[in-house]
């Protein structure tokens, strides 16, 4: 094994890598978009004055933070369909891509809601009071005064969560999502090329996460300026 053979192997690997990465990016990006909306919703519930809403948000975050994502994936892909089957008495299966989306969205959504909440709470209390003292409603104050400032504060952590979710998506290989690790495993089974395959998988992740880290650092720098 030498370096040129490692480079050569990239050519044979590339269709597999491309297919795997396409699925990885698809599931990650869609989940992150869903998670943003979920995150806003859960966060607003968490800070609301209504006790029931607060309770639901806390329960949801407790479940997600307190269980491994692998367990969450198995639960959504295997356990819940069986429960539904038992309750309804008819066949029920869930598509593996859909199960993956749900798992990743719920997972990222919980963490993003906490990121949002932290940022909102770090906005000076005087901002809400100043806005309310001008007769502006709670929702309008939230939308125009608090959230724009909170978004600025949370951007670096949010980009960081994108990196985490991208990496976490490899866990979904365990339920059979044809993402990059799943493809790589099959490829290695066929060719026995563990070293070259996993090296290239790692390089691909590093490339994408490095770009994101750069974005995060640029934002941080601009915020400090």
């Amino acid at each position: 094994m030498n370096l040129s053979s490692l480079l050569d192997s990239f050519e044979q690997l590339s269709p597999m890598l491309a297919a795997g990465l396409a699925t990885t990016l698809q599931v990650t990006i869609i989940s992150l978009v869903v998670a943003m909306f979920l995150g806003v919703l859960v966060c607003l519930m968490h800070i609301s004055k209504v006790r029931v809403l607060r309770g639901i948000a806390k329960f949801f975050i407790w479940i997600i933070r307190g269980t491994p994502m692998l367990v969450q994936a198995f639960y959504i892909y295997f356990a819940l369909p069986q429960l539904i089957q038992l309750l309804s008495g008819s066949q029920f299966r869930i598509d593996v891509f859909v199960a993956s989306l749900i798992t990743l969205s719920l997972n990222a959504g919980a963490y993003i809601s906490e990121i949002f909440r932290g940022s909102i709470e770090s906005v000076d209390k005087g901002q809400m009071e100043a806005s309310r003292s001008l007769g502006v409603s709670y929702s309008s104050s939230m939308r125009h005064i608090i959230l724009p400032q909170a978004v600025r504060i949370c951007l670096p952590s949010l980009v960081n969560q994108c990196i985490i979710t991208l990496k976490d998506s490899t866990i979904l290989y365990a339920i059979g999502l044809a993402e990059v690790m799943y493809q790589a495993k099959i490829y290695v089974g066929r060719t026995m090329e563990s070293f070259a395959t996993y090296t290239w998988v790692a390089v691909c992740f590093l490339l994408i996460t490095s770009v994101l880290m750069l974005v995060s650092r640029t934002i941080e720098k601009r915020m400090r300026a």
């Binding site: 000076d124 005087g126 901002q127 100043a130 003292s133 001008l134 007769g135 502006v136 409603s137 400032q149």
Partner: protein, 244 residues
């Protein structure tokens, strides 16, 4: 006799087990300037914040123009529209320009079109002597300038009552004057004002009435010169011997 602009009866406020306000009664007439003084922690801010319901009162009643703001079904936002507030820490919106800081509330509540609000913002900025700062960000202004913008922002709602909570306490000494001058002008124009302050000179020269608060109660109230030169209560005496 006309009814009081602000009428406070039996106002109490607890934070958990701590009784912060222990029964405040006061009537303030339209156009009157009332200065509230007292030691730190005596409940001055809490009292002021009850007047526009930034704090929920524990018991008692507050009437503004005869209308209860403490009742369950009071339209708090509508009342706040004509009760402006100026904070010790300015609390300008840092992500907005000075112009948008002032325009925001009237436009958001559809009281003015953006064009009207902008014209008003420029007029108010000229009035507080900051006409050239319309496009500045709050962070580019000195403390005194920020506080004058904060006053302009409150005035943009065209309030007939203004509440000030130690508006000059966070300022460098050389900037106190420019803020007090704006407030003095407001007072002369007939604004009803409740001012929590440590500026005894302002209290003496501008206030119609001086109210001394200690431990959640009004110990003394009356003509500023009278209260300052002949304080009746021992605690008022002690307080003045420190600040005068």
């Amino acid at each position: 006799m006309a009814e009081a602009k602000i009428k406070v009866t039996g106002l109490t406020k607890d934070f958990g087990d701590t009784k912060v306000l222990k029964g405040i009664d006061i009537e303030i007439d339209a156009g009157e300037v009332v200065c509230v003084i007292g030691p730190s922690g005596s409940g001055k801010s809490t009292f002021l914040r009850c007047l526009n319901r930034l704090e929920e009162v524990t018991s008692g009643e507050i009437l503004i123009d005869g209308e209860s703001i403490t009742s369950k079904d009071a339209d708090v936002d509508r009342i706040r529209r004509h009760v402006g507030m100026v904070f010790q820490q300015f609390n300008l919106f840092p992500h907005y320009s000075v112009r948008r800081n002032i325009m925001f509330a009237p436009v958001d509540q559809k009281l003015k079109t953006p064009e009207q609000a902008e014209a008003k913002a420029v007029e108010l900025l000229n009035r507080v002597g900051l006409g050239e700062k319309v496009d500045a960000k709050p962070s580019e202004l000195s403390g005194g300038q920020q506080q004058r913008v904060a006053i302009a922002r409150a005035l943009a709602m065209e309030p007939d009552i203004m509440l000030f909570d130690e508006p000059t306490s966070a300022l460098d000494p050389e900037m106190v004057r420019e803020v007090l001058d704006v407030m003095k002008e407001l007072a002369h124009e007939g604004m009803t004002m409740v001012v929590v302050t440590h500026e005894m000179g302002f209290a003496r020269d501008v206030a119609d009435r001086l109210v001394f608060v200690d431990d959640g109660q009004i110990l003394e109230a009356g003509d500023p010169h009278e209260v300052m030169s002949h304080p009746a209560d021992e605690r008022t005496k002690a307080f003045f011997s420190k600040v005068l």
